[in-house]
């Protein structure tokens, strides 16, 4: 049995930090925990496959076939950059970066988001950690924000950072006379905003859904399953009724449509106004769901 020593329990009369630091404490601790797992790192790099593929495309077009474009069937540098390859369109187009691998990027993002985010609050609920959080000097909204920022950051790592690295690499290796930078720079800020919006929406919905269960596996299956099923349902309805508005059934399609508008990418055939309306309703439902399941009065004691 350890006895109490004087230095073992000193008083603390210093200032206490504010809410922002406390939220960041949750976020940084969680990110450190996730990145400390080797399995996660392997999974993370697998999920970066679209960015790696884009990287390879840029590398081939700018470096490997530099000077031998005639052999590849391209006349000059601008033609090579604008050419549509098997994995993506023109590397001068916003669509190439918005959805790497022609939709494959989004699919992997959905899987990645489910694995890293669907269980983020469910795990705490299962371990009884919510009681520990809510009896501290923070509000449930601060706790939720801390978790939301974690998931948002991880999704941005997978989506945004990958494409930014590709773009920065391309800028650094593109021939100065090709016009690559001047062609792509105008849409980069909008693209960043679109990806940030897309990831933030997914992170919010993930965290909200995660509040209502204490099973991580169920949370992951529910997220991926619901999105996949609704996507399939939307496809079936579209074939039956031949109207683009049936895609509004799929939350993923809805948020992607708004992100396309922000990025200035080629829009899908859904109405933007209807998409914003559905997005708003879904966010309101997620907010209600969160408030309902994160009540300290019910969790503590």
């Amino acid at each position: 049995m350890t006895t109490i020593h004087d230095f073992g329990l000193r008083g603390y009369d210093g200032d206490r930090v504010g809410v922002r630091e406390r939220i960041l404490a949750i976020t940084t601790t969680e990110i450190r925990r996730i990145f400390s797992k080797k399995m996660f790192l392997v999974f993370f790099f697998l999920m970066m496959a679209p960015a790696i593929m884009a990287f390879v495309i840029v590398w081939i077009r700018f470096i490997v076939i530099e000077g031998s474009g005639q052999l590849m069937g391209f006349g000059n540098r601008m033609e090579r950059m604008a050419a549509r390859g098997p994995f993506g369109g023109s590397i001068l187009d916003v669509d190439f970066y918005f959805d790497l691998l022609r939709g494959g990027g989004t699919a992997l993002t959905l899987i990645f988001s489910g694995v890293v985010g669907a269980g983020i609050i469910a795990r705490d609920r299962a371990a009884g950690a919510l009681e520990l959080y809510f009896t501290r000097g923070i509000r449930p909204i601060s706790y939720f924000l801390g978790k939301f920022l974690t998931v948002w950051f991880l999704l941005l790592c997978q989506v945004l950072f990958g494409f930014l690295i590709v773009w920065i690499f391309a800028v650094s290796v593109a021939p100065t006379d090709s016009g690559y930078f001047s062609e792509t720079w105008p849409f980069i800020p909008r693209l960043i905003a679109a990806q940030a919006f897309f990831c933030a929406t997914l992170a919010f919905w993930l965290c909200a859904l995660s509040t209502s269960t204490d099973s991580v596996r169920f949370a992951i299956l529910r997220w991926i399953g619901v999105l996949a099923v609704l996507r399939i349902v939307a496809g079936i309805l579209n074939k039956l009724f031949m109207t683009p508005s049936t895609h509004l059934v799929s939350p993923h399609q809805v948020v992607k449509r708004i992100a396309q508008a922000i990025a200035g990418a080629e829009p899908s055939d859904m109405s933007l106004e209807s998409s914003i309306l559905v997005w708003g309703v879904l966010c309101a439902l997620a907010l209600y769901w969160t408030r309902r399941h994160l009540r300290p009065v019910e969790i503590v004691g």
Binding site: I4, Y12, G14, R33, E131
Partner: protein, 340 residues
Amino acid sequence: MRDTSSPHPTSAASAGPGPIVVLEDFTVRYGKFTAVDRASFSMPPGACGLLGQNGAGKSSILKAVLGLIRPAGGTARVVGFDAVRQGIELRDHVGYMPEKEAYMPGLSGLDSVILAGRLSGLPKGVAKQRAHEVLWLVGLDEARYRDVAGYSLGMKQKVKLAMALVHDADLLFLDEPTNGLDPEGRVEILTLLKDLVRVKKKSLILSSHILADVEALCEHAVLIDHGRIVAQGTIEELTRGALRSYDVRIDGDLQAFTEKLRSSGILVETAAPAASASSTDPALAASVEVRLADEQTTAIVFEIARAVGARLRRFEPKRRTMSDVFLETVAANAPSGGRS
């Protein structure tokens, strides 16, 4: 966002011997159900037991103490804070150790305590330093670097206690801190808590079904039943017998002594027959509990012993245990036709 770094108002814990918790006419309702009915009590610094059956209203009192509940009426002041209006600030100065298994998943003991400190407003560096100190204090040495999920129950209890202590809480609320522990672990935790109260002058509220723990640790107790405070005071006051009961042991003919007492109108209770029959302890076999009415003096017991030729070996006022107090109080306050 709001900054919670406001200076600590007058804290009862640090200001002096004033009450650390004061509830006045505190009422909590869930819909039409009244969980706490105009509860009023004040708790001086030190250790206080909070006793009550399941559903008696202990949890609601706990939530009030933590500033998590908006009452239907009344006021609650805890370590100098208005628990209703200053819940966030209050929780920076109160530590809570939940009854249920609770840990930060995927974190080591050290990281859990650091996070707990930072959530209570400690700067990162301070939280880190204090986490090491507090984990050392509770007896988690090298294990602090391991994932808490792999800890034994006793170690998890220690981490929870460290999390409750790390931010220099003025008041600790401990919900069944020895629940599920083996006897050795229970003694270890109780010793640690005693040290906190008696050496480090921490105040704590102990909610426990193990009344022996409350008796061993606390100077005060509050009994709650059906949402009402039915008894409160020092353990000394609460366990003092209402009847004048005495433990009496004699050398001599116990049966004759007992019969003579009864014939004199004195209530006598012998040890349970099975216990006395099987007991090899002659003291137990020759002991009785004598209850005197108001008009009877203790001298009559001595006279009867002399009359039957017995020698009194022991004559002590009998104290009730907290268990007796609890059961008697609950029975006395049970609604008619209800539980007894």
